[in-house]
Amino acid sequence: MIVTAICLTFVVFFLTNLYPNLEKLAKTQGNFRMSDEAVESWLNKEGYLQPLPIKYGQWLGVLPGWTHETDAGVTGRCIAGTKPAEVAAEAPRFCGLLQGDWGMSTVFREPVSDIIATRLALTGKLMFWVMVLMVPMALLIGVLAGMREGSATDRTLSTFSILTTATPEYVSGVIFIAVFTSSTVGLKWFKGTATSAMEDANFDNFFLPVLTIALYGMGYIARMTRASMTEVMTAQYIRTARLKGVKFSNIVIKHALRNALIAPFTVILLQVPWLLNGVVIVETLFNYKGFGWTLVQAAGNNDIELLLAVSVVSVVVVLLTQLISDIGYVFLNPRIRIS
């Protein structure tokens, strides 16, 4: 897993540090009419022209940061601004991800770690409510549909879950905004932006973004639950229970549900990377300035340090959920635990 994380961050590092990207960075930081030589000397001064593995090592914090001596003093990765040699000697040698130094964002002019922390908290709030809405709804739909395969309830609910999986966030979000918030239709039940929900989330400004993300993920989980529920309902021990004369509701709740919910559990956790996509779209659509919004800003403005940090966080989140789902699966399913 650590190997995967290192490989992925290296790929991101490579892609963001391609020369045209650096050239653009130099021009936005310096001035737009820089000649090619000026760009080169600026990049050299800022340490961007070193070989890629070395740069990566410095960013990660396993290689000492670069220093550059001129007549005016010493500049370096771990030194803020130009300092005389004596002061520079006291600066730490290593400064990278592992030392907690995530660099400065060129767009927001703030330390990257601060931005990530605040934005991640906002997105965490969004994700929490998405989970609260999505998981019980999806399980309920799946169980109700899978209870009696082929019944009218099953048909309706299955069609509904197909419909939700076929509606990407940018379509359902646009439809919701059009129907519930615009002055043309006139319902005006909710607010079309969630900007105010960042400080003070309430039903009016927060329900639509949450619903938009939840709907897309819901269909898939519901279908998985339905599949596993139908499988359990045809099992021998359910038939035995029915023949014994146990009430149908009792069979579903006490006998079937426990076994039927093992498979959806892993599916829910594996949905997290997908939700990350949804978060980016919905935060852009509803102008909620969370993690996904930061990703768009960082990528759109070529903010290398911020983009790298965003990628690290999202990759770690994805890998962690995979790990948790593996562990949880073993924990929930005794058959695997014993063998």
Binding site: T4, L15, I162, A166, V171, S182, P273, L276
Partner: protein, 395 residues
């Protein structure tokens, strides 16, 4: 001239789609007549869900094709006519040129272009890119997934590691890193295209050679017939004058770099999932008796993979192919929504939704038609896949 009422708009739009209705009716009548002779495709017409899905999909396929020949759209999707900015559906044109419908059936967008024509032309873009990109992803996934599942061992570990690597990337992050003008300048998409587009060549070469290995004459004829045109296409597709790969002399068409990078990104994102599915199916089918029989006959491993295992894995693969075209359509829309890759004035659905959403609280009509179009196409593909799954499970 008077603005059109609601009923008039509906009637005129339905009339505009006339060639599509005719084609749909002909297709369905023919399919029903020869239902029993058409295999799985014929069985599709036994399931109502599958039929609805198929009709939705074919509606957009025909629309896309006919719009490509300038048939259904009423106006030029890029033309801006004066006085039509953000006008409501059914608004008449102030000075209509001759031979052009004198109304904007679904209104004008904020650059005074016809929403209806843009939606129709958006179908052409989706129909041109999505199935082809999915096909390429399948070629890559099959060519790598079969040996990984069949041989197992180190090859499997390595390829699975790579696939998981790509799958662990959030898709949007990958798009933002890959699909930018700066990356296009470095020529990276072209190199990726050179690798990814080579897989169909390998696939067909191995497919033919493993079959006719013992009949050299037939082998060579087939190889030449298939591989020479494919190679010419391959070389022309990745080649472009004035870029990093520009040496091939027979460059008879150029793919615009925006389209190429979108195509490559979508194939790249889709192929690991296909790889995993094919690998899983291969590992399952490998244990069957007919594979053991082929092994005893002394067939080569590639013959067994491509001519014994692959045909028996076709059911789940066809179902997944339908679902994956839908997913590719969603991905294309996502790219358009974030303004990546395709030029900003292009009429594809994602870009149109993105433009329309900015004025959504005042004007609904520019954003809703492409959104509903995308929804219905993906829904159709999902229903079609569902119908196919049901019918293929039945026997």
């Amino acid at each position: 001239m008077e603005p059109l009422g609601f009923g008039d708009i509906v009637i005129r739009i339905l009339a505009q789609f006339l060639p599509v209705w005719i084609s749909l009716v002909v297709l369905f009548v023919l399919s029903f007549a020869y239902k029993r002779r058409l295999g799985l495709y014929g069985k599709l017409f036994d399931s109502p869900i599958g039929m609805v899905g198929f009709a939705l999909v074919m509606f957009w396929v025909f629309t896309g094709i006919y719009a490509g020949f300038d048939m259904i759209a009423t106006h030029d999707p890029l033309a801006q006519l004066s006085g039509m900015k953000n006008k409501l559906p059914g608004t008449p044109l102030s000075d209509a040129p001759d031979g052009v419908l004198p109304w904007y059936l679904l209104g004008g967008d904020n650059l005074a272009r016809d929403v209806f024509s843009r939606m129709v032309h958006g179908a052409t873009i989706v129909i041109a890119i999505a199935p082809l990109a999915t096909l390429f992803a399948f070629m890559v996934g099959i060519t790598l997934g079969l040996p990984a599942g069949y041989y197992g061992g180190r090859l499997d570990t390595f390829l699975s590691f790579l696939a998981n690597l790509i799958l662990a990337f959030p898709v949007i992050l990958l798009f933002y890193l890959l699909v930018t003008p700066e990356i296009v300048l470095t020529g990276l998409p072209q190199f990726m295209a050179a690798v990814l587009f080579f897989f169909p060549l390998i696939f067909f070469a191995v497919l033919i050679h493993s079959r006719y290995r013992t009949q050299p004459k037939k082998d060579w004829t087939w190889l030449t017939i298939v591989l020479v045109p494919l190679f010419l296409f391959y070389a022309a597709a990745i080649n472009m004058r004035g870029s990093k790969i520009g040496f091939w002399p027979l460059d008879f068409f150029d793919i615009p770099p925006g389209i190429l990078v979108v195509f490559v990104a979508v194939v790249f994102v889709n192929s690991p999932t296909v790889f995993r599915i094919v690998r899983g199916l291969t590992m399952d089918i490998k244990t069957r008796d007919y594979v053991a029989a082929a092994q005893t006959r002394g067939e080569t491993p590639w013959y067994i993979m491509l001519w014994e295992i692959l045909p028996n894995a076709r059911g789940p693969l066809i179902v997944d192919f339908c679902l994956r075209i839908g997913y590719t359509t969603i991905l294309l829309g996502t790219l358009g929504f974030f303004g990546l890759g395709l030029p900003p004035e292009s009429p594809d659905w994602g870009s149109t939704i993105n433009e329309g959403r900015k004025l959504l609280s005042i004007y609904l009509h520019p954003a809703l038609p492409p959104a509903l179009a995308l929804l219905s196409l993906v829904l159709g593909l999902n229903l079609l896949a569902d119908g196919l799954r049901e019918e293929s499970l039945r026997d």
